[in-house]
């Protein structure tokens, strides 16, 4: 069996990112779109940690720490927006929310 190197981690990360992108573009439920977005963020985290490990440099991991923090803040605000939207429109289907007026 071939030994696992940086390349393998990057391929897994790339596949996960594309998977998240497919989810964001195809799903209509805003909540599931949001979860796919989390997958994309995590794919980039994996790439950063792999680079950090194989290049002998801890700065990539510090960056991932900040990304996780920002992602947590983003989820809180995003879900609040979805709740506010649901109160007004009674739907979270993104293709039913087409007008920019309230």
């Amino acid at each position: 069996m071939i030994p696992v190197t940086l390349e393998h981690y990057l391929i897994v990360s790339g596949l996960l990112f594309s998977l998240g992108l497919a989810g964001v573009m195809t799903r209509r439920n805003a909540l599931v779109v949001f979860m796919s977005l989390e997958l994309m963020l995590n794919a980039s985290n994996l790439a950063l940690v792999a680079f950090s490990r194989f290049n002998g440099n801890l700065h990539g991991q510090v960056f991932v720490f900040f990304i996780i923090t920002v992602a947590a803040a983003e989820v809180a605000v995003g879900l609040a927006i979805i709740v506010a939207l649901f109160r007004r429109r009674q739907t979270v289907q993104v293709d039913e929310i087409t007008s920019m007026r309230l």
Binding site: L19, L21, A22, M25, M35, L46, F65, A76, A84
Partner: protein, 162 residues
């Protein structure tokens, strides 16, 4: 051992990622998202980023997913019987995502790690030292960001009172 675990974690992670995207019920998607993030933490352990692995489980499984489930329960969404995907939109999206995956994997093969680099271990001590010396300002700014997000959430979710 390391290699077998790598294959197990990454395949399990990608499979649960597929189930997040395909799940009919948002609750199912959220549960598979937890599973996917858990396997990601396993990969972090394999990469010797121990601190980040614990943070990943604490923040995502402990906070983010709870928030997701809370909102799903709050909105009381029914499993939709209608078509979840638009046919042409889905085909186009799959083409774009497939092209991206193909390009990313082919680029990954050409990236080599720096020669003679010593592998680092992401222990709490090493991370803490960096966070509180070189990255002190970003670290403090992050706390302000979290405060702003908190205020924003309160403002957004407040019921309008006339």
């Amino acid at each position: 051992m390391h290699d077998q675990l790598f294959w197990f974690f990454s395949i399990a992670m990608l499979l649960s990622g597929v189930l997040v995207v395909l799940g009919r019920n948002p609750v199912t998607s959220a549960m598979f998202l937890v599973l996917s993030l858990f396997f990601m933490a396993g990969l972090f352990v394999l990469l010797e980023a121990y601190f980040l692995a614990i943070i990943q489980i604490l923040v995502y499984a402990g906070a983010v997913i709870v928030l997701f489930l809370f909102v799903i329960m709050l909105l009381d969404l029914k499993t939709e019987n209608v078509r979840q995907f638009k046919r042409f939109g889905a085909a186009g999206a799959l083409v774009v995502a497939g092209a991206l995956a193909w390009k990313l994997t082919s680029v990954a093969a050409s990236i080599l790690p720096a020669a003679g680099a010593k592998p680092v271990v992401g222990t709490t001590e090493a991370m803490g030292k960096l966070l509180f010396t070189q990255y002190l300002l970003p670290f403090e700014v992050t706390s302000v960001l979290l405060l702003v997000a908190m205020v924003g959430v309160v403002v957004l979710s407040r019921k309008e009172t006339k």
